[in-house]
Structure formats: C-alpha cells, structure tokens
Symmetry: C3
C-alpha cells in the first residue's frame, strides 16, 4: 500500500484494503483532534497545499484548508478563477503547470469532467480531485464511508437506500461503487427520469450486489439501515420543465421516521435545499452534519498519507 | 471573569471590570508586538479561526486575520459569500453548522441584525460578532475604548462629542453605552433627521449620563476632549433625497482646530469619505489611524481570552 | 548593501552588486527548497505579509504567498478590491495606512503607474511592487535574471532578442535595463507600432549597449542566445483596430527552432495566449515554466532580505 505522492482522482483507484487503511488513519486523526494532544499539529510543517477552486464550494474548500492547517501545513490558492490570469486568456493547463512550482500538493474543483486527471498528467506534484463536474469526488466518498463505519462499527452487510437524483449525482455513483465492496443491498429510489444510469447499475450487478429500483420511498423505507438523500440539482437540467417535474418530489420530514427502523440513519452530502426538513436536524437518525464534519479527519488522513507524514 | 469559550455578540455583555481586563490583556499584546519578543507568537498554535465575511470589509477582516496569525493560529474562510455553496441555495444556518466542524472559533460579518446571535445558537464553537447590520460591532467598541485609554490614561470623566450619523451608526450606539460606565459628558451633534434614537438616549439618561444634543458643532467644539466623527452612510437611506439633504453637512478641516482645545483628540471608525479633510491626517489631534491600528492588539486579546491562551 | 526594511519599487534602485547578491540568496533558497532540509522554514516565523491585489494575478500572488509560507511567515490580504471597504468609498491611501498597522511587509499589484511608490510614501512598513500598471514589476526582472544565470552560468555577454509588444510591456523595459549591466547585445523585434519607446532605447545606447531593431524575427533568429517572447496585451490598446493589426503577428512554433542555435533558450513572462505553440513546451529550448517556477526562490530571497532574516 503506497499512498506517498499518489494522485487521488477516483474512488475506483483504491482497493478494499486501502480504503480500510484510510479509515484507520482518519480515526487516528479524529482522536488527535479531540484529545487536543496536537500529535499531528506539525506533521506537515513546511508543506504548501495549492487549493484551486474553479467553482464555488463551502465544505470541500474549507475542510481541506482546515485539514492542512490542523496538520501544520500552509495553503495558497483561489476560490474564484476570475481573480487569476485566466481572465487574461491563460489556459487551465498553463495555470496548473505554473502553480506546480509553488506547492507540494494540489486540491482542485473544476466544472469539467476529467479535469483533475488532466491536471495530474501535467503536474509533478500530486493532485487530489475535489470534484470534477458530474464525474467524481472521491474524498466525499471516503468520508461518507467513514461516517458509515463510525455509526455502524462496520461497513459490511448494510441495506442502503439512495434517494433523489441518481442520474447526475456523482456522490451516489462513487459511494455505491465503494460500498459494493462490503456486501450491501441497494435500493435506488428516484423518479424514472433520474434513475441510476445503466452503466453504473450493470457494474454493481456484475459485482454481485443485490439492487432494487423503486419510485416510492414508502415501499422500502422500513427496510433501510441508511437513507442517503441527495439534492436534485437545478443546474444539471437542460430543459427547465424537466426540473419542474421532479423538483421537490421527495421531502423527508418527521412523519417519515415512523415508517423507518429506529436504527435508520439519514445521510446527505449537502448542501440541501428542501429535501430534508430542518425539523429532523436534531433527530438521532440525522447524521448529515456529523457526516460533513467527518470531512476534516478524513481529509487530514488523505493529505498526511500522500505527503508521506504517515504510512 | 470567565472569557473562555464565550461568545462575543454585544458590548452589553461585559461588566466594567471585564472591559478593563480586556484593556490590560490588549496592552500586554501591544507590548509583545512592539518588543518583537514574540511572547505570544505560538499562543494559538494548533487553533483555526473561521473568518466568514458575508459583506465587504478591510479593517475587521484583515485585523482579525492578522491577530490570529500573530498569535500562531490559522485562518480559513471567505470574504465574499458568492464563492460558497450559498449560491446553490444553502442556508446561513447550514453554513454555520457545517463550518462549526472545521474551526475552533468564528468571526463573522453579516448584513442582518442579530445574525451573529443566530450563529451562536447553532455553533458549538464561540462566535465573535464582526458587525451584524446596524446592530452591533463590539470589538470596534473595545478598540475605541483602548484608544481612549491609551491617549487619556483613563476613560473616566471625559467630554465626548459624537458627530454625524447618530441614528444608523452602530459604533456610536455601542461606544456611548460602554463609555457611560466611566462618568462622561456626551454631546450628540447631528442634523435632526440623524439624531440619536430615543431608546439609546433614554438608556444613557437612566444610567445617569449628562447628555446634550446640538446641531451646530461650533457651539460645543471648544468643550470637547474627544470628537468622534462618523460617516453618513448612503446605503442606510431609503429615500435618496434624505441622503442629499444631510450629505457633507459636517466636514472637519484645519480651521476647526482653532475652535478646539489643544488636547482634543479626533476619532473615526473609518472608512471616511469626506468628513475629515486629509490635511488633518498629520495633526497631533488626529488619532483615527492609530485607532484603526489598535484593532490588532485588542483583537489578539479577544481571541487569546476566548480560546483560553490567556486568563 | 542594506536590504533590511527597504522598499522594492523599481529594478533601477539596485546596483549590479546588489542584483548579484540577490541571485546568491535565491540560489541558497532554491537549494533549501530542494534539499527539504527546511533550513529557512521558520526564518520568518512571527511575520505577516499583506498581499494586496487590486488586479487579477496568478503567478505573482501565489508565488509571493507560497514564498512567505515556505519561510514560515503568514499572509493576509485580498485578491479582489471589491471585497474591501474601497466599495464604500475608502481611498487607496487610507487602505494602505490602515493595513500598515496589521503587517510587517506589503506586496501590492495595482493598475495605476507609480501606485507602489505612493504606497511606500504612506506606509511605515516596506512595500514590494508586484506590478504597477505599465511601469514596473521588479521582482519579475529579478527572476528573469535568475533564470538566465541558472541556464547560462553567467549573465555576461549574451545576445538577447525581445519579441512582441516592446511598447507597453513593462517586463521588457525592466529586464533590458537590468541586463544592460552585463554587456549584452539586444535585438528588439516588433511591428513598428509596438517598437521600444525612444526613452528606453536612448538609455540603453547611452549605457553603451549594442542595440538592433528588426521587424522580421527570421532575420536575426539564428544569432540569439535568448528569445524573450511577450504577449501583445489587448487591454493596452485604445483603438481595437490597432490591436487587430498586430495580434498574432509572431507565433513561435517548432519550425522556428531549425532557424535557431541549439543553445537558444526561449523565455516568456506568462500568461501566454498564442505567441508560443504548446508543441514547444517540452523542447529543451523552452524554459518559460522553469522561469515561472523561479519566482519562488527569488521572492523568498527578497522577503528574507527585506525582513532581515538573511543579510
């Protein structure tokens, strides 16, 4: 298992053993953060993260920057490409090649699919994909897994429902792929127009996963260990009518809980709009803010592993 | 006196003894900065400040970020909400709850009154109000007080004139409240349409403060120890005609000094537009840049106290 | 040779001995970065750089911020003036005077010529000019020189061609001035409308430099040790027709190399648009990305010298 100097572009690059190792390191980071023993507070002293956000972000950018800082590293970068020489006509490629000389590692968000892979081809320094269009967001999947592991002690044999936009939602594609390594049963709950694309479904079935498709959450809600809710993203629809037809079709509120097991846990990659009523925020079933907070130890683990501060 | 983990939302939360203690700690920070003995340069090592600016700022954001850095802490955040998931429909509340997992303390500026209080209800980590609409900006008041203390050795028994927009100016409301603890005489000098609102005047009178209202600066200028000038803020007026009527009504220049005591000191929370002629910038009476610089040691004191690095 | 607390406004402020000393310190920084011995990783601990960018930038801002961080210092600032109190009418002068209290050193980019000199008059802390309009960008010249020194072992007796916009390009004005100290021969290759202004040509001739002017690159290409290519900057032309007439007039591609010496080196201050075909990027002649990367050790040297961490 060699993480040092490795690009982190897709969750598909990791073996099950590698994923479990990242979980272990993340647990160690979590303990260190909570104990305030500051065991890792100088682990990345002298290293610089280039944080390049070509699209708006709250969670990804701030948690990566916090992770680097809690490890004693430093951050340079931008949260808005209009403040850079890109406005003077500089290419994405030239931007990457130049910044490659000013940092030890990149994290990057970009609207285009496979842009992170393109950056990794050009840069000498390792590149962490912080979301490339509708393609991948692998560290999101890693802290989704970490959240599941912390709440269920194991990721094995869980019944997981994915709800909402299963067509465009990159988090669903990546998490279902990764969880498939742990003998799950999947329920894909969506309007027909937002169903999981065949390529992903085929992959899961070939991997031997039991998969169900359903339009009505109520028909399967009582079987689930986890309900993974997603936002229906207006910006993905070419035709506004198509968005109007599915918008708000699933809205989870307190009444849903009576249909579910007490041990159900509700996750969401956030941001949410109206898919989960805020009245659920303090229910023990709701772990989406805990999930967002887990970004910090998991991204600390990723940075420390790639920069060689831990093995 | 317990400052650790306390929110700093309003100047009204502090007793006189607490204010004097913050002044002492700020003096200590000031000495440390000037001596370059770096006594506190690692005081907040391992801590992260989330600096969330939903509105433009120069002084508040840069001095808080400098303060955290001079104490060895780190900073994450944004200076413009359009670079965050708020553009995807995320609520203010969700933003605060998420970032709560990535930091040890917040400083926040937001256009809505009481938004800092709302954040403090949601966040586990302490929240410092860096200005919430027309409501409060308590650390501004603290370094206004510090500036007065450094220039007059004591805050007691001063004759203080407040000039300009006394209706909308949150700095005047907060500073007059805090100074009322130190036996002042107040002169409120403004056009009638921008007079101090009755609620504030009533509070001061009840607290036993001698208060005068005046439209003509010349009538009282010779009695003052301090003239606290404010900008008439165009953005507060609903009707542009009302702004035109009062705009530029007070402009202090060198000629004013002959009407005042030599020991007069002129303050301004900045930014200024045309209220104070730049010809006064080098006069010994002008202490508004010194006042802006005092933001640094006072904000260092606030961060160090709340994060428990000093008592 | 006293660098401590000195402003860095123009390349014209340095003697030849001073330039060579900066080259030495930059080499030392380069070695330290590559050896990862971290010799200088706490050299500027406790110091804060105010990075004030009133115009977009990638290279200058990110490399200065990386330089400060690799030296253990901290950074505050902005990459976009609309996030500051300038939108409330605050003057450039007041902004500088205020931030002067929150930092140990400034780096500044601003669209107006001589704005860095204005800032240096107002600020107690030293100011590094990161580009002021069409006037100067002295640290660009310093790492241009460093790149030449690293590739040719010496800066003496080189045949240097400057190509493109020699009228508005501040990098050409500053680099030709500095290289004139090292007995070069210069070829100024441009359309007549973008020729080197007479004031610069006169200065070089007076300094005893052999200068040639040419419109056709092919006529002199085979004599050059260095070809310094520049972007023709659309934003400098008042009349769009004038830009259309010269746009794209020089585009270097692989075919050019057969006309040049094998030892030719191609430089460009970047960003480039279409002046250099990306097919040249991996040719040994192309050193423009190396040049961009040299910004880091040179800017580390500048910051360390001015803040007194090295002599």
């Amino acid at each position: 298992m060699a993480f040092k100097n490795r690009d982190l572009l897709s969750i598909r690059d990791f073996s099950k053993a590698e994923i479990l190792h990242i979980m272990d390191v993340a647990s160690e980071m979590d303990r260190s953060l909570k104990a305030k023993d500051r065991k890792y507070s100088r682990a990345l002293e002298g290293s610089v993260l280039a944080s390049l956000f070509f699209e708006p972000s709250t969670r990804t950018r701030l948690s990566f920057e916090a992770a680097m800082n809690y490890l004693g590293g430093r951050v340079i970068g931008f949260s808005e490409p209009s403040h850079t020489s890109i406005v003077k006509g500089e290419s994405f490629e030239d931007t990457i090649r130049v910044v490659d000389g000013y940092c030890d590692i990149f994290v990057m968000r970009h609207p285009q699919n496979f842009s992170a892979m393109r950056a990794a081809e050009l840069a000498v320094k390792p590149v962490v994909n912080g979301g490339d269009g509708t393609n991948e967001h692998p560290t999101q999947t890693l802290f989704d897994l970490y959240t599941i592991m912390k709440n269920f002690r194991s990721m094995e044999n869980l019944k997981v429902g994915f709800l909402g936009d299963l067509k465009y939602g990159r988090t669903v594609h990546s998490l279902s792929f990764a969880l498939a390594l742990f003998h799950p049963v999947f329920y894909f709950i969506s309007p027909k127009s937002l169903a999981l694309p065949a390529q992903y479904m085929d992959g899961l079935v070939k991997a031997g996963v039991e998969c169900h498709e359903e339009e009505d959450l109520m028909k399967v809600g009582d079987r689930l260990d986890i309900l993974y809710v997603t936002r229906i993203q207006k910006e993905r629809f070419i035709n506004p009518k198509d968005y109007q037809a599915v918008k708000g079709v699933y809205q989870i509120d307190r009444s849903f809980l009576s249909h579910a097991k007490d041990s159900l846990r509700i996750m969401h990659p956030l941001p949410r709009v109206d898919e989960i009523n805020p009245q659920l925020d303090r229910a023990p079933q709701s772990i989406y803010f805990q999930q967002a907070h887990n970004a910090l130890p998991v991204r600390m683990a990723v940075l420390a592993l790639i920069l060689g501060a831990v093995e």
